[in-house]
């Protein structure tokens, strides 16, 4: 019942798995609907273990994403830190809500994440594609159940 022992190892491991899932090459047909697993993992840990350095985890995860797919270095670092910050700030509010409301929260935060990415892409002079980049949002939000379920089980079984 000692949930306060901060699961640093589990956090890192789950972030690594999330990163792999988010960058692993997929056929171009399903790649646009691939959920943003790493961001969901960041949201989960920011909500559930806000004192365990969730913001640092968010920043590092973002930096890792930058290396893999960032147009400018720091793009994902900034957006993912923002996600972590919002989640940490609201963790008291969201943590004990039913999973469905948590999913809505995750969806809203992911929308902001994507919006900020779009803005930075525009600033950096990246070609900005149309609707495709928003396509993953519903799938990401739905994946909240999966991510929260799996991580919650691992987390509490410790």
């Amino acid at each position: 019942m000692n949930r306060d022992s901060e699961p640093r190892g589990l956090m890192l491991l789950s972030a690594l798995v999330g990163l792999v899932l988010q960058v692993i090459p997929l056929p171009s047909l399903i790649a646009p609907v691939r959920p943003a697993f790493l961001i969901l993992v960041v949201i989960y840990w920011s909500l559930m273990a806000p004192r365990a350095g969730g913001l640092t985890l968010a920043f590092i995860s973002g930096l890792a994403l930058d290396v893999f797919k960032g147009a400018v270095l720091g793009q994902y670092a900034l957006t993912t830190s923002l996600v972590g910050y919002i989640a940490i700030r609201q963790h008291n509010l969201i943590r004990n809500k039913p999973p469905f409301e948590q999913m809505i929260f995750a969806g809203i935060v992911l929308f902001l994440w994507e919006l900020l990415l779009l803005l930075i892409d525009g600033w950096a002079g990246q070609s900005v594609s149309g609707a495709m980049r928003w396509l993953h949002l519903p799938f990401s939000a739905l994946s909240w159940f999966l991510v929260a379920g799996v991580l919650g089980r691992l987390h509490s079984s410790r």
Binding site: P25, S28, F59, V67, L73, L78, S81
Partner: protein
């Protein structure tokens, strides 16, 4: 009030700075990184380090598909390998014939150009590498290859696959290099139509199997099936490397430009192995020089029509005469876009 959400017995020790402050620091750091990345060059070192740190991760990401290919290669049936072997042998013979003919053409060309002897080969050396990560979206078409600065790969180096041009290196880490494909929407390659020497620029479309030629006027002489080679302008790619074949040339009345699309010769989404190429800097066809390389075009003529034993000289000849092109080439792309 905020205590409601916290499980009983859970203390709230404040550790380190408050999240707001930390977020501020991280945000500042990110914005700083972005600015430096856009402007300064010194962040290249940071990129280099990060690329090195990411390499094991990239390998890990790639491991499932690599493992799958490895296992399937182990269980590949013997007769399948034999079939492949036979096919490769036929291919080799075909290429040998082509090279034989190539040597003769080189000599002939040297005579035509009044040179005492044929030009030396353009490529100094090449290095094969394996694709370890693919990013294929409408925004970005990139590959990560398991060769980097430790193998002397440099930024802006030409990368080719078996059939044609693939792209160029964009970022180089110690053990890996990121390659921007010719189909990336941010990539443009100066090309030339082999048949008539028409020069233009091919821009990536974001799809793995097509590039577009947006700057061809409606009356330009381009037909489906034309072979595109690099023109050697732009200072990155050497002249005469096969790039793509024209698949669509539409002319809408009312538009001054033709809608032309081409299909890259290299299987950009399927090739697992690529080659980095080094060129002899002094060679006439090397990047940034302004004379086209007839020899490369000659080898192309053969590559383009593998089977026929004797390609008619007409196919090879139309590359503009070197003497006249030097001044004209500089503003060539501009004149063509008008």
């Amino acid at each position: 009030m905020a205590r409601f959400g916290i499980p009983a017995g859970r203390a709230l020790p404040q550790r380190g700075p408050a999240p707001g402050f930390r977020f501020f620091l991280f945000a500042l750091l990110s914005v700083l990184l972005m600015f430096l990345d856009r402007r300064g060059d010194w962040l290249e070192r940071v990129r280099y380090g990060l690329q090195a740190a990411a390499y094991p991760l990239q390998l890990a990401v790639n491991s499932p598909s690599a493992a799958w290919r490895w296992t399937s290669s182990i269980f590949e049936a013997r007769d399948k390998l034999q079939i492949e072997n036979r096919a490769l042998r036929t291919e080799l013979r075909k290429l040998e014939l082509a090279t034989m003919r190539n040597a003769a053409l080189e000599r002939e060309n040297a005579q035509l150009r009044g040179l005492k002897q044929a030009l030396p080969p353009l490529t100094e050396k090449w290095l094969a590498g394996e694709v370890i990560s693919v990013e294929s979206s409408t925004l970005r078409q990139r590959l990560v290859i398991n060769r980097g600065a430790n193998h002397k790969v440099f930024k802006g180096q030409s990368v080719v696959a078996s059939a044609g041009l693939l792209g160029q290196t964009l970022r180089v880490g110690p053990w890996s290099a990121e390659v921007i494909l010719i189909t990336d929407p941010e990539h443009a390659v100066p090309v030339q139509i082999v048949r008539n020497g028409l020069r233009t620029i091919a821009v990536g479309s974001g799809e793995a199997d097509s590039i577009s030629l947006p700057y061809l006027p409606i009356q330009s002489d381009v037909v489906v099936g034309d072979l595109l080679v690099t023109s050697g302008l732009g200072g990155v790619f050497p002249a005469g490397f096969p790039v793509a074949t024209i698949t669509e040339a539409r002319r809408d009345t009312g538009s001054a430009l033709a809608q032309v699309r081409a299909k890259p010769l290299a299987a950009l989404d399927r090739d697992r192995e690529v080659s980095f190429v080094w060129f002899k800097a002094a060679h006439t066809a090397a990047p940034a020089t302004e004379t086209p390389d007839p020899k490369a075009a000659a080898s192309l003529g053969i590559a383009a029509q593998t089977a026929p034993p004797a390609p008619p000289p007409a196919v090879v000849a139309p590359v503009p005469a070197p003497a006249t092109t030097a001044p004209a080439r500089v503003d060539a792309p501009r004149t063509e876009t008008r």
